[in-house]
Amino acid sequence: MKKMLMATAATALMAGGAMADEIKLGVILGFTGPIESLTPSMADGAELAMKEVSDSGKLLGGATVAPVRADSTCVDAGAATAAAERLVTAEGVKGIMGADCSGVTGAILANVAVPNGVVMISPSATSPALSEAEDNGLFFRTAPSDARQGVVMSEILMEEGIKEVALTYTNNDYGKGLADSFKAAYEGMGGTVTINAAHEDGKADYTAEVAALAAAGGQRLVVAGYVDQGGAGIVRAALDMGAFDSFHFPDGMIGQALEDNFGSEVEGSTGQHPGTDSPGAAKFVEQVGGAFDATSPFTPESYDAAALIMLAMQAAGSAEPGDYKSKVMDVANAPGEKIYPGELGKALDIIAGGGDIDYVGATAVELIGPGESAGNYRQITFKDGKITTVKYR
């Protein structure tokens, strides 16, 4: 305890000298590109956490945190790498909240974060490939890997007694990654995937795709696509041709549009998407008020990602990535006092006092394996034409 106190005191002194004023954190998201409609509220979520910490004045003895935004473009690895390089070398950021899409996240990690030793916490990259990426302990994510979703999907289908499914996925990193992880998990549990076929988004006609799926057969059709893209076209054609009448929908398919377009026609279909009934989600909405859309996808994850970086800094007593990278898992997981959104000041106090915290945040954060969210999923089913919650798992 004495040592701890001394260490804190020493850091406080150091902080006074070197960096009392301002710690910069990068916010790298695709402000232009295919998910540009989601990123503004994601960035707002991250910056809300930084403001909360700055206002509390308790981080490393009174340091403030300033966000620096950069554009990942979501799809252009070259542009994303250049943007991240600028943040690290020119702006001198001590950590990166980002990036968003799986492809650019991998590129920034390999080309910028690892060579420069900067911590990255992504709120939304879900590709299973990132679990095995070479990261020197610098990469974390508050979004669950789709490998996890594949397992959850398989469990749901097995519990429903579905042993044979046809599988179609949208032909990109998300669809392929999810389809592969589902297929592996499902077959591991004794299920059979009769066909694993890609579909392209944005086509007018999916009868040929559905004809192939129908020929292969199966008790249910698993559609790993997008609800306002090819996924909906596949479901429409499958219903029209009488090929399948019940489906399983992963996260990309769950949305109001699904209920509006198909409703009672897909009675008994199942699905799941990331979601939690933890009180943190409601507290986050309350804290945000009307400032931005707190329920927009990956916005709570962004708040949590930024919060974890700052709490880890406090725990390490240093803003240097090399020092605090090993503390991220400690602050995120039990044991310790549970921390919800809006309680970052309290958390900083507890850590400064030598206590231990278990950051729950807006998305019930629990980091597992190589530092990724364990993932909480909401299992849904169609009942009387409405999406209804079965349970959380």
Binding site: N171, I195, A197, A198, H199, E200, G202, K203, A204, D205, T207, A208, E209, V210, A211, A212, A214, A215, A216, G217, G233, D240, M241, G242, A243
Partner: protein
């Protein structure tokens, strides 16, 4: 019983979709082939002409729907069709006056007209997106099915369902009417005959006193009608999205060339050849063969020649084969 199941499965997944798609392609290819035969160039703007006509139909359909006008069990879009044709005709006759007539008077080479039509294509492309946006638009209404898969199963007690959508039925009926009218016009009326004469030998036609501008005008009017009808049927059956009409250009040209550019009969045959090849080559035959063959021979695999991703590649492949071995197409069109 198994034999019946096989027939029904084949009809449901191959024959009916291919016949509907083939009719839509045939109507599109007829437009392309008429322009090639009479105006002597490949009109790359045809896909977007279809999109423009369909867009007007969609807008009128929405207007009718908002006023509560419907067409009973049939889609309201059929009522809006004449307005779409008029608007489309105005647009492309206007385009002809502004763009193509200039090159015609210069006696420009066909290649120059093709490139000009590409420019027109981009402008129409932008125009449609500017007015209605790049997204999917739904405008189908009325009864969805002539017979749905579930009803069919209950009626017949077969294991396989057969679904015939209203839009598929309408597509075939309208296509037959449109083609019959076109052939009657080309073969029986004075104007139609003068168009054919102009197509066969321009100089001889001019010497015999045929007014070329009149022929050109009528050609454009017919093309506008065909394009709007084809586009509307495709949109009703599938969905209206400007980009998919641009993509339709490939199978439409493939149909026209396979049938023989300049030959109306060839365009129709070509449409069905392309549609049936696309569907049958990418179809997984497992189910049908499973019914037909004895259990010991039933296939384990999908028996699918090509993945459905390669649908467009099929049009391309057929196009290349036809151009290599029979450059004038199945029905002896003009040499390309």
């Amino acid at each position: 019983m198994d034999f019946l199941n096989a027939i029904v499965a084949l009809s449901n997944f191959v024959l009916i979709p291919a016949i509907a798609y083939g009719s839509q392609l045939a109507l599109g290819a007829l437009g392309v082939t008429l322009i090639y035969g009479i105006l002597r160039f490949s009109n790359f703007a045809h896909g977007d002409t279809m999109a423009f006509g369909t867009m007007v139909v969609v807008l009128f359909t929405w207007w009718f729907q908002s006023m509560g006008i419907t067409f009973g069990p049939l889609p309201t879009a059929l009522l809006a069709l004449p307005f779409g044709i008029i608007a489309c005709a105005l647009l492309i006759v206007g385009t002809d006056r502004v763009v193509y007539r200039f090159y015609r008077e210069q006696k420009a080479k066909p290649m120059i007209l093709v490139i000009a039509s590409m420019g027109v294509m981009f402008i129409m492309n932008g125009l449609v997106r500017f007015i209605i946006g790049p997204n999917d638009q739904r405008f189908a209404d009325g009864e969805r099915f002539i017979i749905s898969a579930r009803d069919f199963k209950e009626m017949t007690g077969l294991r396989e369902g057969l679904a015939i959508k209203t839009t598929q039925g309408i597509t075939v009926v309208v296509a037959v009417i449109a083609v019959a009218l076109l052939f009657w016009f080309l073969n029986r009326t004075r104007t139609g005959k003068s168009m054919r004469a102009y197509s066969d030998n321009e100089d001889l036609a001019l010497l015999s006193g045929i007014n070329p501008e009149r022929v050109v005008l009528y050609t454009w009017l017919i093309v506008a009608a065909l394009a709007t009808v084809a586009g509307t049927l495709y949109g009703l059956d599938k969905t209206f999205k400007p980009f998919t009409y641009f993509q339709l250009l490939l199978p439409i040209f493939a149909s026209a060339i396979v049938g023989g550019l300049g030959s109306p009969l060839g365009a129709i045959a070509g449409g069905f050849v392309i549609a049936f090849s696309e569907v049958t080559i990418t179809y997984a035959w497992k189910k049908v063969l499973g019914y037909l063959l004895p259990d010991s021979l039933a296939p384990d695999g999908l028996v699918q020649l090509l993945s459905t991703d390669y649908k467009f590649a099929v049009s391309f492949a057929i196009l290349v084969i036809v151009l290599l071995f029979k450059p004038t197409g199945l029905f002896k069109g003009k040499a390309v």
